[in-house]
């Protein structure tokens, strides 16, 4: 701005329609209803339509599944970080545990993929929660540090001790019957979980969880066991990640060490920061932007992680609210200059 700022400032005012749709007048007219439904329908139709739009590009259709998996992880990161205050730098743990669990359910017990995936989701969630349990009293930096070590150590252990198939991984996992099913299972689950989580964080339990984030002493003082609630939150988040991992195992028809790789830890974080933390939808948006970039950079190997890290740093330092928060503000409010 070149103008002097002493006598003018920018004012943000809620749009009239936004204020009306907050209350019961939301159903006053089609216009109000459209205002409320438009963003939600855009998301639903956009996501569900994505595989159809891309029918002509089989390669990019495969990317849709990857986007779905990363989006699940990113939503789980966002939920844990911004609603419970646990920054989990090791999202790859969830993917890995989900992938291995589903692979074993499929190869040992002979369960079909469509049964193995939900079972692996819940089982994997339980396993991850148990692994994380000792670290749950920690918060902030300390939790971040420990969660970062889990996937690294898991990969190292599998490699060193030659357990769980060692470096070869688990081979011969059944694939899903067809590509459409694979995508719609992921995208459908993603949408359901997204709206479900949004509902959840506004319920009483969401209030407790946010209390844990903002002031856990106060929550403790109210006679609520914060570790139980943290465990519950970690369970929910790791279920999301394990669902992604289980599906991934069936898409690649293989579960191996690379599913503990760094990509799964860093891309969801980057997506959350780019898309806007604390909005739950933002991370999905971030994944829709970042994962295709990642595919384009595939030839450059690990450079893409470096690219991500740079994008991430830039966003967190210079534009920390993220795209979604920005878009929401533009949608709900208008800005004008006022004289002081």
């Amino acid at each position: 701005m070149t103008e002097p700022t002493q006598d003018r400032r920018k004012e943000r005012v809620d749009r009239g329609i936004k204020v009306r749709t907050d209350g019961v007048y939301a159903i006053a007219s089609w216009r109000e209803m459209a205002y409320l439904l438009a963003p939600r329908l855009t998301l639903i139709i956009g996501l569900l339509g994505l595989p159809i739009f891309l029918t002509a590009f089989p390669y990019w259709q495969k990317v849709v599944s990857i986007i779905g998996i990363y989006a699940l992880l990113a939503v789980s990161f966002d939920f844990l970080a911004h609603y419970v205050g646990l920054v989990s730098l090791g999202g790859a743990l969830y993917i890995g545990v989900g992938a291995y669990t589903s692979a074993y359910l499929n190869t040992w017990l002979g369960l079909p993929p469509l049964l193995a995936i939900p079972m692996a989701t819940v089982l994997g969630g339980i396993i991850c929660t148990l692994l994380m349990w000792p670290c749950l009293p920690l918060r902030g930096v300390y939790f971040a540090i420990v969660s970062l070590m889990f996937p690294l150590l898991a990969a190292r252990l599998i490699e060193a001790l030659d357990i769980l198939g060692g470096t070869d991984g688990v081979l011969g996992v059944d694939g899903l019957p067809n590509r459409w099913l694979e995508q719609y299972v992921l995208l459908g689950c993603l949408l359901l979980l997204l709206f479900g989580l949004r509902r959840l964080v506004n319920e009483d339990i969401g209030l407790v969880l946010r209390g844990v984030k903002d002031n856990d002493q106060a929550v403790k003082a109210s006679g609520i066991n914060i570790t139980t609630f943290k465990a519950l939150a970690v369970f929910i988040a790791s279920c999301l990640g394990c669902l992604g991992g289980a599906t991934l195992a069936h898409i690649y028809m293989w579960a191996g060490i690379s599913q503990f790789a760094l990509d799964f830890s860093i891309i969801p974080i980057a997506a959350t920061v780019v898309g806007g933390g604390g909005t739950l939808v933002g991370p999905v948006l971030g994944c829709l932007i970042l994962v295709p970039i990642s595919e384009l950079l595939r030839d450059f190997g690990t450079l893409r992680i470096a690219v991500y890290a740079v994008i991430l740093t830039a966003f967190i330092v210079f534009k920390s609210e993220g795209l979604m928060a920005y878009a929401t503000r533009k949608y709900n409010q208008f800005e004008r200059w006022v004289n002081i």
Binding site: L89, C135, G140, Y142, L153, A160, A306, T313, S320
Partner: protein
């Protein structure tokens, strides 16, 4: 005897890795997740100076340390200062910087086992019947020197006392005219230089590989958590505990289990004494 001597060497290596991390955290409460990346970068810069410019080894080493200190200060001044105090952002930003450096290096030059720093001192001596090569002795020597130097610096110079004051209570330090942002820059520069110093003596024992960056970060964090974050004496004691535990597992169980020791130590410490073995009560409240 083997166990004793190699245990000491291993412990001092761990202490060297952790010193920079705990220094930065202790002074400015900034968890520097780029620590491992700085470590590898120092080795790489030194190697570049040696091979591209053909500088003599001591000069190249000192130059690499100076560059690291500058890089650390710049990293703080340009990026981290903007997110200071926001725990989540601090972690993510420093981790992202570290990743960018490490993965950039992996892509740009560190592929395979071609990058090897020559050992500073070759040859070996026998101590109490155990053959130890001189480079490993140098590690112990440098470790002792750095710890001693740090102690003198912190307790007997103005700058050091200012840093100590800030570590104890930042607000009180501010009221006494200590510029906390400037001190944080100094701390970051020192921490990076320490990471560099550790790299220069430890890296000649093997190749420079990107994985070392993650390893160093993990070990530094393990040592700091066990010792109580921000406590220097605690970190050194913890380095000895973990160092000997690692050597013992290698001897008794086999080298595969070495990685388990670190995480086991962390988990046990967290369950048993959440503020670390030597952490103060004040830190307990902030952590749990």
């Amino acid at each position: 005897m083997d166990i004793l001597i190699y245990g000491i060497i291993n412990s001092v290596s761990l202490a060297l890795m952790a010193l920079g991390f705990t220094l930065v955290y202790g002074i400015s409460r900034l968890p520097n997740f780029a620590h491992g990346a700085l470590y590898v970068t120092a080795g790489y810069i030194c190697w570049q100076l040696l091979h591209r410019l053909g500088l003599p080894y001591p000069l190249a080493g000192l130059l690499a340390l100076a560059i690291m200190a500058l890089a650390g200060a710049a990293m703080y001044q340009l990026i981290l200062v903007r997110v200071r105090g926001m725990a989540i952002s601090e972690i993510i930003a420093s981790y992202a910087i570290g990743l960018a450096i490490l993965e950039g290096l992996r892509w740009g030059g560190l592929k395979g086992a071609t990058v090897i720093l020559p050992p500073f001192a070759t040859g070996s001596v026998g101590i109490l019947g155990v053959t130890v090569d001189l480079q490993r002795l140098l590690v112990v020597l440098l470790g002792a020197l750095l710890v001693g130097g740090l102690w003198l610096f912190v307790n007997h110079t103005r700058l050091g006392l200012a840093l100590k004051g800030m570590a104890q209570d930042e607000r009180a330090a501010l009221t006494l005219g200590i510029d906390s942002d400037r001190m944080a820059v100094v701390a970051m520069a020192l921490g990076s230089a320490f990471a560099g110093a550790a790299a220069l003596v430890l890296l000649p024992l093997g190749n420079i590989v990107v994985e070392a960056g993650y390893n160093v970060l993990i070990m530094a964090v393990a040592v700091c958590i066990v010792g109580g974050l921000g406590s220097w004496t605690g970190a050194i004691m913890a380095a000895f505990i973990i160092g000997f535990a690692q050597i013992l597992t290698v001897v008794l169980l086999g080298p595969h289990y070495q990685v388990v020791v670190a995480i086991l130590a962390i988990i046990l410490t967290l369950i048993w004494r959440p503020s670390g073995l030597f952490g103060r009560q004040k830190e307990l409240e902030e952590r749990v």
